[in-house]
Point group: D2
Chain length 132, copies 4
């Protein structure tokens, strides 16, 4: 599958007194891109929870912060599937500004039973799209 | 009842690129003080939910931001009950640094049924303490 | 001037364990709408700071939280100027979902000298647009 | 050097509608522990910036999220230096609840010139303490 791109504007809420985006907030930007990628495939997470009883949870992250993003910049946040198991996914994600790479990360996601928070197979109709 | 004081340290997470605490984050500080005031009276909010089936929700706020708080400052956040109804509470709260008033607010809280999110009377054993 | 509308999607980052949007985060949504309204008039806040030496700061807020917003909803956040002084502005703002009013607020904004954080007149070319 | 422990209470602000602490917020908890560890050694970050012209910035993180933390829990967040270079540090950090490991991470920190945001040697009086 190709790379999905989601634009994210930097507001004051995202910055810190160092004058740049606060490091933990890049993780929020990456999640927004993953959510919008899933929506672009036709899957709404509230429907997946209500109808299939599953939620997605972040299991591990590894992020390099190369250059700072700043207030008011319009960033491009990418999401691409790196690997896909029966009940897990990994994403490669990049954050760029004017084609300059600011931040890159690998994010491992688990598919969980929404009630028990235990591992649950990714629904087949979703898995079929992910593998295509 | 007297004024309850809770110390809050300002970390990078709380600031913005204006060099000061981001305005919405003062509301988090005020909630921390309300939570710790309730704990100081012997009430844990997770127990109130599990045993009495209630949660508290913010219904209205009115806040004046007078002077900015800055990175690394140790703030004093106060909470004092202004009024107490059957299913609602209002708090007067102040945030100070070195005795200088930075921010003051009035926060109206509703007691809700945790399942339906509809108004629910404050449990009697809690109300008795609030009125004493 | 008319009402400006900005769409905001609710992500996990915005919610709390009560299952709804965390109350302080509505203030972030309102600021996003004010920023985008200003951009729609042709003003970028980083340019206003660098070229005119001013920033805008929230001086006071008054917000009613009527109904909760939930994960994955697409909200409409409005901004409309209520009053405009030499160095201050006030906004009337509403947050709606499917035309249902969830939250309404009044936000008072001060125009500040970016270096001293003291009151500074709103630049004339901006004031002219606000008054039109 | 030994392991430094800092207590962190989970408030609503930290949780999400999955009922657990939002993943990016563990990074905030880890930073609080690093800041308090530095303070426990006698170093205030605002003084380091004003007097030595340096700030610390997160360069890379790698975090495993093993079990969720929940509303109202009192967590223990640890910080221990794993390696120390001329202008960089790496931390091993763990988050536990009732001695159960919830989350572990490695955080690489760069010492930067506060004005240029370029690498800057760690001040000698600080480095001496870190190496002892």
């Amino acid at each position: 599958m190709g790379e999905f791109i989601w634009p994210v504007r930097v507001y004051y809420e995202d910055t810190d007194s160092g004058g740049v985006v606060y490091h933990a907030n890049y993780l929020k930007f990456m999640e927004r891109a993953r959510s919008e990628w899933l929506r672009s495939l036709g899957f709404e997470q509230d429907a997946l929870k209500n109808e299939s009883g599953i939620i997605f949870a972040v299991r591990a992250i590894s992020v390099d912060f190369r250059r700072p993003a700043r207030f008011n910049q319009l960033l491009e946040v990418s999401a691409r599937i790196g690997a896909c198991g029966k009940a897990s996914l990994s994403f490669e994600q990049h954050i760029r500004h004017n084609n300059e790479l600011l931040c890159s990360g690998r994010v491992n996601i688990a598919c969980l039973d929404a009630a028990t928070l235990k591992a649950h197979p990714i629904p087949k109709h979703l898995l079929a799209q992910l593998s295509s």
